[in-house]
């Protein structure tokens, strides 16, 4: 069984994002970039399936600028077997990304594609569901636990009221939520080994996918800021403020 895992290069989750003065986007120059945290969880799950003997090969895919190869190397250092880099300058929308992944899935023939539920840059939460739709596969999104049982995956999903369990037929797309696992750190020997693992490079055009976006971004602006308020000295003052100043209780 083969598993495909898309990994996205995003601004590191610890970085305070700044909007560019000309409102065309956010500042990316000299900003630390990392693998999308949900994709780390996806890679970790794929590697655990390999370690358990359920899966033979884990393929990491990244779509974007040349530096996405660093993100793929991170996945390889964690334990993925090989990488595919789809080179493209500029942001791609989830629908284009799903189309690229669909063609790759047709070529590679994975049984499971594990996708992070959301990228922390555009916060779209779409790619996995779109990919499942384009492939005509079933989907288990926002999963916190999976068990592979022959032809099916039993998945526990994080939903608004708690947890939901369903089975989905293989091949399937899974999207990962935070509680699925805790991703490992790559060890130094594995980082060295990852340098020798192969990364194939292609373009969306090679795959016959038109990379044009559908949405026109008119501007990217600062959100309304919230002013810090006052410190209260004790609980009595707090309750008084809430009752008589803010009038919310």
């Amino acid at each position: 069984m083969k598993v495909l895992v898309p990994v996205k290069r995003v601004i590191d989750y610890n970085v305070k994002v700044r909007v560019k003065a000309d409102e065309t986007g956010v500042e990316l120059a000299n900003v630390k970039m990392s693998m999308n945290p949900f994709d780390e969880i996806s890679i970790e799950e794929a590697i655990r399936l390999k370690e358990a003997g359920t899966v033979e090969e884990v393929v990491a895919v990244s779509i974007g600028v040349q530096q996405c190869q660093e993100t793929i190397r991170t996945a390889l250092a964690m334990g993925a077997d090989r990488g595919i880099h789809v080179l493209h300058d500029g942001d791609l929308e989830p629908l284009v990304v799903a189309k690229v992944l669909k063609v790759l899935a047709d070529k590679e023939g994975p049984s499971i594609i594990i996708v992070g539920k959301q990228a922390i840059d555009d916060d779209s939460n779409q790619t996995g569901q779109m990919l499942a739709a384009l492939l005509g596969w079933g989907q288990a999104t926002f999963v916190s636990k999976i068990d592979i049982d022959g032809e099916n995956i039993k998945a526990t999903r994080e939903v608004d009221g708690g947890l939901e369990t369903l089975t989905v037929k293989i091949p399937a797309v899974l999207t990962t939520d935070l509680r699925l696992n805790e991703p490992r750190y790559a060890s130094l020997p594995n980082i060295m080994k990852a340098k020798k693992k192969p990364i194939e490079q292609i373009t969306p055009e090679d795959l016959g996918v038109d990379p044009s976006n559908r949405l026109q971004v008119l501007k990217v602006s600062e959100p309304p800021t919230r002013e810090a308020g006052v410190k209260v000295s004790d609980v009595g003052e707090l309750v008084d403020k809430l009752r008589n100043t803010a009038k919310v209780i």
């Binding site: 994002v17 555009d122 499942a132 739709a133 608004d160 369990t165 037929k169 008119l218 410190k231």
Partner: protein, 316 residues
């Protein structure tokens, strides 16, 4: 313009999240049809028909829609979407699961979690955990949109007199099957629609300490939430999580207890009207967004707050 809204419901009643999508659809303009897909869902459909502003309700009542499986519901929505200019749903876990599948099948680029409608094809949506707001214009023939519930007032749930039409559509995709749910049982209000929310973070140190904030919450008629740290540590279930990748809330009053205020948490609550922070670390970033900050040990301050509320006549 004519909008189709996918209703959120549990077959026996409508989920109030549906009301926010109706308001967003009104901002877009034109007739509003709401689709209720489920099994034995006529009671939910009757709720929806009473929403002020809804023109028509379409009901598809069939076993394959009972549990909202994405493959089945998306197939239905795709089949019905023809002729509509917009398809909307409030961005609940269920809609987030279904709507991108609809969009891809229709070859449309979904616009996720809009917070503002500028015109029928231009929308504002938060990116980077709400640290930037993107204004985007769609030229797709059918705009597939999820709506951030906290950004649109709930439409009135009565006064409407929409027609109810039953439609039949058979569509079990046969790709997945529902096994069951473990839903948190609570007498407290729903986190996303509560007027007051009291949340605990890593500072709570253990799930066993949560009763001290639950006691305060119950006196105020509040919902209880948590930061990701508290959920990851297993203090409380996943559905308590407020933040970028959890629930987004905007109550009248949000009380953050032992929460440092990581940007990912702020993304889920910074639109609250009044924010209170109780934290012993006066440098904690939560104080930068708090209207009222109390620098104190929560294990002293929260029981005191409980007592002070009793003195002021709450929960008596």
């Amino acid at each position: 313009m004519t909008t189709l809204i996918l209703a959120e419901h549990n077959n026996t009643e409508m989920n109030v999240a549906t009301l926010n999508a109706v308001t967003a659809a009104q901002a877009i303009g034109g007739d509003i049809t709401v689709l209720v897909a489920g099994k034995d869902c006529s009671a939910a459909a009757a709720d929806v028909a009473k929403i002020d502003g809804v023109t028509a309700v379409k009901v598809v009542d069939s076993p394959e829609y009972e549990n909202g499986l994405a493959e089945n519901v998306a197939g239905l929505v795709v089949n019905m979407a023809n002729g509509y200019s917009h398809v909307l749903a409030t961005a609940t876990a269920s809609a987030k699961n279904i709507m991108p599948r609809v969009a891809a099948l229709l070859d449309m680029q979904q616009i996720s979690e809009i917070t503002e409608v500028l015109d029928d094809s231009t929308f504002v949506r938060p990116i980077y955990a709400g640290n930037a707001m993107a204004t985007v214009r769609s030229s797709d023939a059918i705009k597939i949109i999820t709506v951030r519930g906290t950004a649109f007032e709930a439409a009135k749930s009565d006064g409407g007199t929409a027609s109810i039409e039953n439609e039949s559509f058979a569509g079990d995709a046969g790709l997945s099957a529902y096994l069951g749910s473990e839903l948190s049982e609570s007498e407290r209000p729903d986190l996303t629609s509560a007027r007051i929310v009291v949340s605990g973070g890593r500072g709570m140190q253990s799930g066993e300490n949560f009763p001290i904030i639950e006691s305060v919450a119950d006196k105020l008629g509040a919902a209880v939430g948590a930061s990701r740290a508290a959920v990851d540590a297993g203090y409380v279930p996943n559905d308590y999580q407020v933040g970028q990748t959890g629930k987004v809330v905007a109550p009248d009053l949000y009380i953050a207890v032992g929460i440092s205020g990581a940007i990912q948490h702020l993304a889920g609550m910074k639109d609250s009207k009044v924010i209170v922070a109780i934290n012993k670390d006066e440098e904690a970033p939560i104080f930068q967004v708090a209207d009222f900050g109390l620098v104190a040990d929560l294990f002293t301050a929260v029981p005191e707050l409980d007592q002070e509320l009793v003195k002021n006549g709450f929960g008596s």
